[in-house]
Subunit: 532 residues, 2 copies
């Protein structure tokens, strides 16, 4: 017997319609690519999203078509999130920091019919254009005055499209399982894989994100995502913020410390998020200026594991609480997030950071299991290590065009490629990416633990542990360290510092001080390059 409740599809336009109706003057603030700060209310964003929806339809975009963006976090990108998905087409957010050959590859693989790009990518797009087999229309996300001269001939101008189209538009009724977005993730092997989000999965994920034990967002918050909108949808904040009527601050292309701090103070941001390397820049800037970001209540750190030292500095210097989050493009991205349980009330500082060092605890919606080498589900004892597998309504079931199908298991679980434990309280602790594992004498050494150990040294800004071949032990750890500006430390002193904090046989044979670490397009350290 079916329930007698309204059969209302979960869809993305309903979020912007809600924000426009109930929080119409609540602002979306952007540091534009052209330079100035732009601000308007959700009701203005809805009007322009509808104008763009009409423009897309005029352009010949049909339901299911892919519309690509090469764009930073801006109000125009925000409008496209709703306009493209809202007409039933699919927003393909391309990471512009990929190699141009890779960009061409993903655009062709996705069969994008339209490419919208920010003015900083004029040259890149002109280089790409001849290689893009399916793109029929180029749109520069700017006004006529700022159209880059090198843009392909016939490039349309975003503001002209808006001006030329009516704001009268009724969103079509969409099946909630319909695809809404496409985001490629770089695999360890082979070509990038496309994650195909849907209206339902995205709405459910946004509802989960706003809960007190996740991002804790209300109408009184101001959200500043220090993650680009091409990086797992800026962790879904362009959906979660309007869902509750929070103010949304989009930092454009500038994620450096001074730019973020300036924007956070000017707009009184209460919630920030980003990868660990972002916070290194923010903290250095705060160090230099003696400033504190007292408006910030919570900071979510994910993308790769922050060290305890980094989290301590963020909490001290921002006066905010850090919530570590773990997820992947394939998990929309939230998998787990770290908040306290009642048992942790009154925990001392060391205990708090030991807990915060875990990637987070499971929330309703994403089920997890740890699969041992022997094919059995491992106990949640905080010690048994295995492959982390997940499932849930906002987890991928396949990659676009069925690439890389081996990670989607026959019994319906997704194999994340992470190696982890889960403790009795339900906290996930990654020990490694499967590909990063150091196996020495048949036993795993956790690169994350080594990096965390050395990072507690006051002179250390960043660290990366990798395995190097060893005739006897197969592999031994090598620890690469970047020092903080104005600090010095001897490799042997750092080695001794680590030795005090990890098992004897884990202590790296060598600590090497380097000027910088190679950072990939999503802000993670590229260990593959280090090993090379």
């Amino acid at each position: 017997m079916l329930a007698l409740m309204m059969d209302r599809a979960l869809n993305l336009p309903s979020i912007l319609e809600y924000a426009a109706a109930y929080h119409g003057d609540r602002e979306v603030v952007t540091r534009t690519v052209e330079g100035p700060i732009h601000r308007y209310g959700y009701k203005d964003a809805l009007v322009r999203a509808k104008q763009m929806a009409n423009a897309l339809i005029d352009m010949g975009v049909k339901p299911g078509d892919r519309v690509a963006t090469l764009a930073w976090s801006t109000h125009r990108h925000f409008e496209l999130y709703y306009a493209v998905s809202g007409i039933g087409a699919i927003l393909h957010t391309i990471n512009p920091r990929l190699h141009p050959d890779q960009i061409a590859w993903v655009a062709n693989h996705a069969e994008d019919s339209v490419l919208m790009f920010d003015i900083s990518f004029g040259e890149l797009v002109s280089e790409l254009a001849p290689k893009l087999a399916t793109v029929k229309t180029f749109v520069a996300m700017t006004d006529r005055a700022h159209l880059p001269p090198e843009a392909p001939a016939g490039t349309l101008v975003y503001e002209e499209l808006i001006a030329a189209h009516s704001p009268e538009f009724v969103w079509p009724e969409l099946d909630e399982r319909q695809a809404s977005g496409l985001c490629y993730t770089s695999g360890t092997t082979g070509n990038p894989k496309g994650v195909l989000y849907g209206h339902r999965s995205t709405v459910l994920h946004a509802m989960a994100l706003v809960q007190p034990d996740a991002f804790d967002l209300s109408a009184r918050d101001t959200v500043l995502p220090c993650a680009q909108m091409y990086h797992a949808n800026a962790w879904c904040t362009p959906y979660a913020a309007p869902l509750v009527g929070a103010k949304l601050v989009l930092p454009g292309r500038q994620l450096d410390g001074p730019s973020i701090c300036e924007l956070a103070v000017a707009e009184q941001a209460s919630f920030l998020l980003g990868v660990p390397t972002i916070w290194v820049g923010v903290l250095d800037h705060l160090d230099q200026t003696g400033q504190r970001l007292t408006c910030v209540r919570n900071v979510a750190i994910g993308g790769s594991a922050p060290t305890a030292a980094l989290m301590r500095r963020v909490e001290d210097q921002l006066g905010a609480t850090v919530r570590q989050i773990w997820g992947m493009t394939e998990t929309s991205p939230m998998g787990v997030i770290n908040t306290a349980l009642p048992a942790h009330a009154g925990e001392d500082e060391d205990a708090a950071y030991a807990r915060k060092l875990k990637q987070g605890r499971g929330l309703w919606g994403v089920e997890m299991r740890i699969m041992g080498d022997d094919g059995t589900v491992q106990p949640r004892d905080g010690a048994s290590v295995g492959a982390l597998q997940v499932r849930g309504p906002w987890v991928s079931s396949a990659y676009f065009k069925n690439e890389g199908a081996e990670v989607f298991l026959d019994d319906g679980w997704f194999d994340t490629g992470d190696i982890a434990t889960i403790d009795p309280e339900g906290y996930l602790r990654l020990t490694d990416r499967a590909k990063d594992v150091i196996k020495s004498g048949g036993e795993w050494i956790s690169t994350l633990d080594l990096e965390d150990a050395v990072s507690s040294h006051p002179a250390v800004a960043m660290a990366a542990a990798i395995g190097v071949p060893h005739p006897k032990w197969d592999e031994r750890p090598l620890l690469l360290v970047v020092l903080r500006p104005g600090h010095t430390a001897e490799p042997e002193a750092l080695k001794a510092h680590v030795a005090e904090r990890v098992a004897k046989w884990w202590t790296p044979d060598e600590v090497r001080i380097v000027a910088e670490l190679p950072i990939g397009p999503t802000g993670k350290v590229l260990k593959r390059e280090l090993r090379d």
Copy 2:
């Protein structure tokens, strides 16, 4: 093109499975009907829910069958919430405070095949049994020692069923649109109407409930619903609390002030909810004992509109923030809830209570419109009055067996029967139930405003305004007032008090002091009886 995200059905067993796996020792505490306090963890609740699932199947309960309860808020009722819905059957929570003839009517209308009842209803059930045409199995929700002697012959004993069945059970795969619960609501005219909840609607509603701008629930909360589990599912807290791992405190049958205060203090409840009359009892008890409930963070008040005076007392004497909530059985029940917007930061006390007197502001999920007498949607100006209509994924689309179809409009909206305004900030303000309206000289007089005006007098405990026929004005208001214990006031003084606070022509022709007001089965004042 469909998304490539996992097609995981939203279902109720997943909530208890989650709580058991991640918050297994987090307690469900019950003041049992037998007397003692019972406590166990979510993992124990899951074991027993699975045992009961096996028992139900053994009893011959099939998917779609209705299993009725006549039961208070207890751990056994909690287990049935999951066991009955989890096997695909439908939990029909009967309000035991209905007239026995009405109980028999709804049980027959629902075609209940099983009736589970608390020991306090032994006599009632023995009286009902001959009238129940479809009930084949009676189960007393107790152990053998407490089986009421007057229970029908062959009545099974809940604890024996649990003991006799295995905890090994795999929940069947359920269509998320499948019905999970049935709750009748008393109509203004005609027979009670059955609201048929589903797995999807209930999960989405629970996800919405936990957000910061609704009940604001995390794993660190302790939830004490002072609403019975037969009353709109105790406002869905038996689903929302385990969804986030909050502790759940179930007050059994005792919703009097001393019992609630004792439980709240003993279990350190952080979130309470209930109808206005509940708080009158709680406040009187606190007055008498000089106690304060410092553990409480938020109190939700709904079911009928609280006066500003009541909210002030709750905030003063509990040290908690009041969130008024409006909803109906047909809205699962949350429609709107009252939390502040950024514009209200720093509002003074009078402004705060003027705002809190509104029923709440719209959250994503429930759309609202005000329909004028002329069939046009009214502006959100805080002044234009009309019929409140709503729609959303947790709003009824029809009543069971298609009773009362006239409130489900052809264009997909539900006509709530309330008369309301919506202001530019999105706050809903009820002026009346459609049936309660006083129309004097062709103009509406708000009964809620009259009740609120007189309630600000320190001697007033409760008030009810009704319309009485008048030869010239059609109707004129009559105000019935119950005084607080130990207080006195003259009717003329109360009339003068009201006259200072409302439009001149709204001032009631008469204020009458009465010993008590008739309270209906859900805690609301029965105005129909007053008019009679």
